[in-house]
């Protein structure tokens, strides 16, 4: 297999106390694209309200969200949020209110992260819930800032629950 999909740093597994934020720092500029894989759950009380708020380089302005979600019975669109990209798609990640031990499955793709143009990303995500409402969807996000992405922060609504994981990969297009 070609060496085009490389794990960068270490996989984070959240411990018993939970974690508010997961940061990947000092990201090398040697790849073409980045991918973040999340398997997360939030300690919020209400079901399907967990967010995974993504920011680059500590920037908290100039973000745009356009997301589409389906609950199993209805579809919705949204664009809320200018201070981060919501990889939880309108805060639909499983929480304490969802079926026990269920987690989201989220992929965040960041093309041309080291380039000098505005930074786009796409998110595809599903929640998990043994109940009538379980969500899936997509988000097209943009940060109107041309700086290369050297750090990525992913912040929970309340806390990421124990056993939540996050892994960063670099993509090389040869």
């Amino acid at each position: 297999m070609a060496n085009t999909y490389v794990k960068i740093g270490s996989t984070v597994t959240v411990g018993l106390a939970g974690a508010a934020t997961i940061d990947f720092t000092s990201i090398p500029a040697t790849y073409t694209d980045l991918v973040v894989k999340l398997s997360t759950r939030d300690t919020a009380v209400t079901a399907n309200t967990g967010a995974a708020k993504v920011t680059f380089n500590g920037t908290v302005t100039s973000y745009t969200n356009r997301y589409l979600t389906g609950s199993g019975s209805a579809a919705a669109t949204g664009s809320a949020g200018t201070t981060f990209i919501d990889a939880g798609l309108g805060s639909l990640m499983p929480t304490t209110g969802n079926t026990a031990s269920t987690f989201s499955n989220i992929e965040i793709y960041i093309p041309n992260y080291a380039g000098s143009t505005n930074k786009s990303l796409s998110v595809d995500a599903v929640g998990e819930n043994n109940a009538t409402a379980a969500y899936a969807g997509f988000n097209a996000g943009l940060l109107s800032n041309t700086a290369a992405v050297a750090s990525i922060s992913i912040t929970s609504t309340t806390l990421f629950s124990q056993y939540s994981t996050a892994t960063l990969y670099g993509i090389l297009k040869n």
């Binding site: 740093g9 997961i22 990947f24 000092s26």
Partner: protein
């Protein structure tokens, strides 16, 4: 217990866990409040639109499926 952040240094692979600073806690609270308001506004706009659509269909005496045929 204070909220924490887990930091992965991608150059060294080192993983550290730190308490959030006061600024980070404040930013986190502001983000949450701003987002809750934006989401509530968006949800209300969607609900208002649905209500107006239902009222119009009732006024016209047709179903949503019948209205779709007119599009």
């Amino acid at each position: 217990m204070a909220d924490t952040k887990i930091i992965v240094n991608c150059e060294t692979g080192e993983v550290t866990e730190l308490e959030l600073t006061a600024d980070e806690v404040a930013q986190r609270a502001k983000d949450a409040a701003d987002y809750a308001k934006a989401k509530a506004d968006e949800d209300k706009a969607a609900a208002d639109k649905a209500t107006a659509k239902a009222a119009l269909l009732a006024k016209l005496g047709i179903t949503a499926d019948e209205a779709a045929l007119l599009a």
